[in-house]
């Protein structure tokens, strides 16, 4: 460690413990604390209207989901085209509780944190089961296996009358110490819940990669034979990567169900799975902060496309729906351009900016 605990221009680690620290300098820690403080306090000073609050909540739920996807695809190197289905498992855990017990049962109104965890657990179990083919399969075959899980999930939800055949199953409002969360406070309340979840889960993942279990994931991704020779079980490591990612997806799905006060199949289709994959890639696969950039970028892009097509729609014949055409077009274009020109994603730009400011005014 350099003598100056506030600023460091290079790596001067003398012990492994120092290298493993989450915050290298005190300045990092200070900046992060201020950032967290701002995250928790801005809704008090700048109350947004419900539309924008919902956009922010959508981004944050997607962040939880993409964190899970990044675990399995970025860190463990297993392609999953069924992430929305895992989210759906979490959401439908909550929804089926609401269907069996009624949508304002005490379990939903008072013990909703338990339900969120239950959604995560259901996601984890399904993840482990779907991950079983990864004991034998790699790459493309695994991608197709998860794709088929997505299709089977969609069919099952649309088929079973218990799940209302894909129509929305409503979930009631929840209680807090101050009483029921009403309509005005709903999105702000879930903003705080999601932020807390993200902070806890983000630190959890950050710390996971300091343990042997986290490093095993990366080792199996980079070379499974070498990992096998070093005493890890590649098959079980992959299954457990799927279970972890399923847990995060389940949590995200459960929060999604509470946020929208219901669960319907239209939020968990193949298209959503692809969107989460695109978010992970645009953000940067195998990086933690990429899981935050990706969802924000894709959601913002969607919003801008929506605005633009609304504006341009005034000058076009009304029969033409520009938004339906432009949304997939820009979405695909962004994926392709990122993969062709910046395969490491926005996280790479962040890294460059950080190292530039760190060494400024010097080049390196």
């Amino acid at each position: 460690m350099s003598a100056n605990r506030w600023l460091a221009t290079g790596n001067f680690f003398t012990t492994y413990q120092e290298e493993q620290r989450t915050f290298i300098t005190n300045l990092d820690r200070l900046i992060f604390s201020i950032f967290l403080l701002i995250l928790f306090t801005w809704p008090i000073f700048f109350p947004l209207n419900r539309t924008y609050m919902l956009v922010i909540n959508n981004i944050l739920v997607a962040v939880i989901a993409v964190l899970g996807l990044n675990l399995v695809t970025g860190f463990a190197g297993l392609i999953s085209i069924g992430h929305a289905a895992f989210m759906g498992i979490g959401a439908y855990t909550v929804a089926s509780c609401s269907r069996v017990l009624g949508d304002s049962h005490i379990l939903i109104t008072h013990f909703w944190p338990i339900l969120i965890l239950a959604g995560g657990a259901a996601g984890a179990i399904t993840g482990a089961i779907v991950g079983l083919p990864s004991l034998r399969l790699k790459h493309l075959y695994l991608a197709i296996a998860t794709l088929s899980f997505q299709m089977i999930f969609e069919w099952a939800i649309k088929f079973l009358t218990f799940f209302n055949q894909g129509q929305t199953i409503s979930v009631g409002r929840v209680m807090w110490f101050t009483g029921e969360i009403g309509r005005e406070k709903h999105y702000v309340f879930w903003y705080y819940v999601t932020i807390i979840l993200i902070v806890v889960l983000g630190f959890g993942i950050r710390n996971l990669f300091k343990t042997r279990y986290g490093r095993a994931l990366v080792a199996v991704r980079d070379n499974d034979r070498a990992a096998d020779a070093m005493g890890m079980h590649p098959g079980f490591t992959k299954v457990y990567a799927f279970a972890l990612s399923g847990f995060l997806a389940g949590v995200a799905g459960a929060v999604h169900a509470f946020l929208y006060k219901g669960a319907g199949i239209e939020s968990f289709t193949l298209h959503h799975s692809i969107t989460y994959l695109a978010m992970a890639i645009v953000g940067g696969l195998g990086t933690l902060n990429g899981s935050f950039w990706g969802p924000a970028a894709i959601q913002m892009l969607n919003l801008q496309v929506e605005k633009f097509s609304e504006y341009a729609g005034n000058y076009l014949p009304s029969a033409m729906n520009l938004a339906t055409a432009l949304r997939p077009f820009t979405f695909g274009l962004v994926i392709v351009l990122f993969l062709m020109f910046e395969p490491r994603g926005i996280a790479n730009w962040w890294r460059i900016t950080k190292s530039y400011t760190k060494t400024w005014p010097f080049r390196y």
Binding site: G77, L132, R136, A145, L270, F329, G332, M340
Partner: protein
């Protein structure tokens, strides 16, 4: 009993379309080890180009079908040249995601045209009276579709067995370095594989469009449903694609004919291919005729 044979006949019709649609996927995978998730969109654009030429440009359908094959041939070739040539040697997730992105781009382009939202159907150019033999009927469109499919698959097999270009494509799929050393240009073979895949996709699109009508959702759904077919047949086997296509068509039609409506089941034809796919992946991932190259970890 005629109900049974009717189902067999329609199973073979659907299956041969699956075979033709799966052929394009196999061609690309065989030479460049890329799974093309935009295949359904290429099928759809082939069908729409045929329709536009036939109805809007009033070209006879026999000619417009071939023109659309040629157009899609060059379209798919340019897709490979522009997007996928840069990604040779990149990790598989990048390649898969690029094809998914391409699918999305083509989706957007098709939604700009009337085809994205409206339904069209080809003008009737064959007798509308179905052929009926002993209570089993098949429409002329279906019969012609099956014949064209058989001819196309036959000519593709001949192309791979006998022609120099076909043999060089097989060589590249077998060993890229060895084929480079005997003077085969590997990138141009990749381009050609995409182009022929586009051609077969356009043929499939034209035939499906004639049988079921032009609906974008139905047409691009074929791009996903061919995956169970190619996995069952083996990702790199043309024979496998044909056999598995027909098996899958029969399974779907039998499920629709015998399972649906009984025991409260419904729409089983849509989900059974994926269940079979999962089972195949668990017990025999290389499929019926694929090369045994799966690594066990």
């Amino acid at each position: 009993m005629s109900y049974f044979f009717q189902i067999v006949v329609s199973g073979i019709v659907v299956g041969s379309i699956y075979a033709l649609a799966a052929l394009g996927l196999v061609l690309i995978y065989k030479s460049s080890r890329v799974a093309n998730f935009a295949h359904g969109q290429i099928i759809a654009s082939g069908a729409f180009i045929t329709y536009a030429l036939t109805v809007w440009a009033t070209i006879p359908i026999y000619i417009s079908f071939f023109i659309s094959l040629i157009i899609t041939f060059f379209l798919a070739w340019s897709v490979e040249r522009i997007f996928l040539r840069r990604l040779i040697g990149e990790p598989i997730i990048s390649v898969i995601m690029v094809t998914i992105g391409l699918a999305s781009i083509i989706d957007g382009l098709i939604y700009l045209t009337p085809f994205g939202t409206k339904n069209f159907s080809f003008p009737q150019f064959l007798p509308s009276e179905p052929i009926a033999i002993a209570g089993v009927s098949i429409s002329w469109t279906q019969l012609v579709g099956v014949i064209i499919t058989t001819l196309l698959i036959g000519s593709f097999s001949w192309f791979f067995k006998k022609s120099t270009v076909g043999i060089s494509m097989r060589a590249v799929s077998d060993d890229q370095f060895a084929s480079m050393s005997v003077g085969i240009s590997v990138p141009s073979v990749f381009g050609l594989a995409w182009a022929t895949a586009g051609l077969s996709a356009a043929a499939a699109g034209g035939i499906i469009g004639n049988i079921t009508g032009l609906n974008f959702d139905t047409l691009h759904a074929f791009g996903i449903v061919v995956f169970p077919v190619v996995i069952l047949g083996g990702l790199d086997s043309i024979l496998g694609a044909v056999v598995a296509g027909i098996i899958m068509g029969l399974i779907q039609q039998f499920a629709g004919g015998y399972l649906d409506g009984n025991w409260g089941l419904n729409g089983t034809g849509e989900v059974l291919p994926y269940i079979i796919l999962l089972i195949i992946l668990l017990i025999k991932p290389h499929g019926l005729f694929g090369i045994h190259e799966i690594e066990r970890v």
